[in-house]
């Protein structure tokens, strides 16, 4: 049994697996695009009306209709629309006539900054706490952390945001409650001050789920016999947690991470609304209120795509990191 060939087969199987997963995505992408297209078509209101003035001739109205391609059969309209999308033309916002893609790209940094910081903080806080709670199962520290985690997964995120604003902005007047920066100021400190409350909100909300996941996985790992054998080798529980259990616990956490990735891009609709954080979440909510369907469509497409890619990412990483892949 020579290893090179072994490795070769493993690689081959991996790439076949990746290919299969990629193919599975195609119908999902199709459905997402159909739904996005349907959202445009089903939106209340006739798009032609935007171009119509009261004293226009019916023929002119018809001409506009034709020039917009609205006289074509629905599937042809879909493919024309799809062609536009593929070329990066996502249309123009109805509110300010700006290109949709430009608006999205302009807002992207704010969202990635907010969500990325929150996700990093969540991982840094929740994973060690999960391990510690499992190590001290059924002691006061475990019970306390469990209680907080229950609150974290149950609290309505907007209410938690409101409470933070009420306390830190309104009562104590320590931190700003709205927006990303004070007008006219462009310093990092100012940005950080604006970010503290929304990041705290998102982190608190995220920690509960990750903590519970890590804790329950650690508990089931701790009961496995390789841990007992590790003890019998003379390893301490901390050493075992760090060099054996953590890696095995992190594998399933990757799945959870994959599910969090889409929100990194599509933003947090509610948190961004509460704190008026100018990211993609707020853009989406605003678009919904003003029925700005080109933006709605683009964001549906965008977040659907991200969700699919996030799952794919989780799957792939899992396959690469877990040595049991060959099974």
């Amino acid at each position: 049994m020579a290893t090179p060939s072994l490795l070769f087969w493993r690689e081959l199987r991996l790439s076949r697996m990746i290919l299969r997963r990629m193919l599975q995505i195609v119908p999902l992408l199709f459905v997402i695009s159909v739904i996005s297209f349907a959202l445009v078509k089903l939106s209340p209101g006739d798009p032609v009306k935007m171009f119509v003035t009261p004293n226009m001739h019916p023929e002119d109205v018809e001409r506009i209709r034709r020039s917009l391609g609205l006289n074509l059969p629905i599937y042809e309209q879909y493919f024309r629309w799809l062609g536009q999308i593929v070329h990066g033309n996502l249309g123009y916002s109805l509110q300010n006539s700006q290109p949709v893609l430009g608006q999205i790209l302009q807002r992207l940094p704010a969202t990635i900054g907010l969500m990325g910081t929150a996700l990093a903080a969540t991982l840094i806080i929740a994973i060690p706490l999960g391990l510690v709670a499992a190590k001290y199962e059924n002691t006061w520290i475990d019970r306390l952390l469990n209680m907080i985690s229950y609150i974290s997964i149950s609290i309505p995120v907007f209410w938690f945001g409101i409470l933070l604003i009420e306390f830190f902005s309104v009562k104590l007047n320590w931190l700003p409650s709205l927006g990303m920066q004070t007008i006219g100021e462009n310093s990092f400190v100012d940005l950080a001050q604006h970010a503290i409350l929304p990041v705290t909100t998102l982190t608190f909300q995220g920690c509960g789920a990750y903590y519970r996941y890590v804790r329950s996985n650690t508990l089931s790992e701790i009961r496995k016999s390789y841990v007992e054998f590790g003890h019998a080798k003379g390893l301490s529980i901390w050493k075992l947690l760090w060099s054996h259990i953590l890696k095995n616990v992190m594998l399933p956490v990757i799945t959870l991470l994959g599910m969090s990735l889409p929100t990194l891009i599509s933003g947090a609709y509610i948190t961004e609304s509460v704190f008026s954080w100018p990211g993609l979440g707020l853009l989406s909510v605003d678009a919904i209120f003003s029925l700005d369907y080109p933006i709605i469509m683009a964001m549906t497409l965008f977040s659907g795509l991200m969700l699919i890619l996030g799952n794919l990412f989780a799957d792939m990483t899992y396959q690469f990191v877990d040595p049991r892949i060959r099974k």
Partner: protein, 352 residues
């Protein structure tokens, strides 16, 4: 045996705490282990044999169990009262243990090499490179072909028997004085079982380690052990040399175990099974715990626990049948047959 004692267990009592009450898993075990010998502990599941082993290693969870009384003397230290720090120095270095299921004893996500050198570097001052070299030697020693390549692989790339060899390699890495093997072959195929047992015997000869061999399978014991302790309901009911236990057993429970051993010449005889089930150890019976399942039970068995009666210097059994006042009972045919062999053995005959 003229060897010196290496481990001395006295009156070991272990309980597990449950919601319904304390399970008295080990109820006053006295046991000695000599240098270089193999002592088998035999019993049904729940007899306390594994708990005894884990108590020696202090691997029992402090939350769920406690050593109520007794001492475990090793190298001048009472392990039952040793600190966790002391134990971490002893575990894997002086006393090593291997477990039943080789499929789960190894961490699936770390290479074999990492899992071996971890122990080496923990207990011996070795550089990474030295430890890696030692790991290859160890794998070679336990009979794994191509150790340099296998070393870098993950557990799932090994078969069950090969994994148990890796586990053994880890256990013997630091030349332990005592090796505790908790049902090391139960999860393996019969043919592989034999090879693993052979390996253990071989290694013992090379390293002069004492082995505590825990099993529910009396058949495995015969060509493995020097002495055998039979456990029932948390107590040792009979202990003796391998010949004494196999050919001159005195306890009705041992009789039952021997009669229920499958033999090759078993034609249309039905395999004997001991009737009933082990007693509730939350409320252990007042007298002999085996009495309810014992066809030879005496009235006194329900009243008082039998003491250890001495049969020879090496052979003891806890049954009232050995009391001079007890009636003479006739053991099962199979036991009578074996006792005849034993008499011939005693007389110095070579028995086939």
């Amino acid at each position: 045996m003229t060897h010196s004692k290496i481990l001395e267990i006295e009156d070991l009592t272990v309980s597990f705490h449950t919601r319904v009450g304390d399970i008295q898993a080990v109820r006053g075990v006295d046991l000695e282990l000599y240098k270089g010998e193999t002592l088998a502990i035999v019993g049904e599941s729940g007899s306390g044999k594994s708990v005894t082993a884990k108590a020696i290693m202090r691997l029992l969870s402090k939350k769920q169990s406690s050593i109520k009384q007794g001492s475990i003397l090793f190298d001048g230290i009472d392990l039952s009262h040793a600190s966790e720090g002391q134990m971490m120095n002893i575990r894997g270095k002086d006393i090593a243990m291997i477990f039943q299921d080789p499929m789960t004893s190894l961490n699936p996500t770390l290479t074999i090499e990492r899992q071996i050198i971890e122990t080496l570097r923990m207990h011996q001052k070795l550089t990474k490179h030295e430890a890696q070299k030692k790991a290859v030697e160890l794998l070679e020693m336990v009979g794994i072909p191509q150790p340099e390549i296998r070393n870098k692989q993950y557990p799932h790339q090994f078969s069950g028997g090969m994994r148990q060899r890796v586990v053994i390699a880890i256990a013997i890495a630091c030349n332990p004085k005592i090796l505790i093997a908790d049902e090391p072959t139960t999860a393996l195929d019969v043919t592989i079982q034999a090879k693993i047992l052979e390996l253990l015997k071989d290694l013992q000869k090379k390293m002069d380690t004492s082995i505590i061999f825990i099993t529910h399978d009396l058949g495995v014991v015969a060509n493995m052990a020097n002495r055998v302790a039979v456990m029932y309901a948390g107590k040792i009911v009979e202990i003796g040399t391998v010949d004494e236990i196999f050919y001159n057993p005195k306890h009705p429970y041992t009789w039952g175990l021997i009669c229920s051993m499958p033999t090759l010449d078993l034609k249309d005889k039905e395999l004997y099974t001991i009737p009933g089930s082990p007693p509730d150890l939350i409320h252990p019976p007042k007298g002999d715990a085996f009495a309810p399942r014992n066809p030879y039970a005496l009235s006194i068995d329900t009243l008082e626990q039998p003491p250890m009666f001495r049969i020879s210097d090496t052979h003891y059994a806890a049954t009232w049948l050995l009391d001079p006042k007890a009636p003479k009972v006739s053991p099962p045919d199979e036991i009578l047959r074996r006792q005849q062999i034993f008499e011939r053995l005693e007389a110095g005959e070579v028995v086939q």
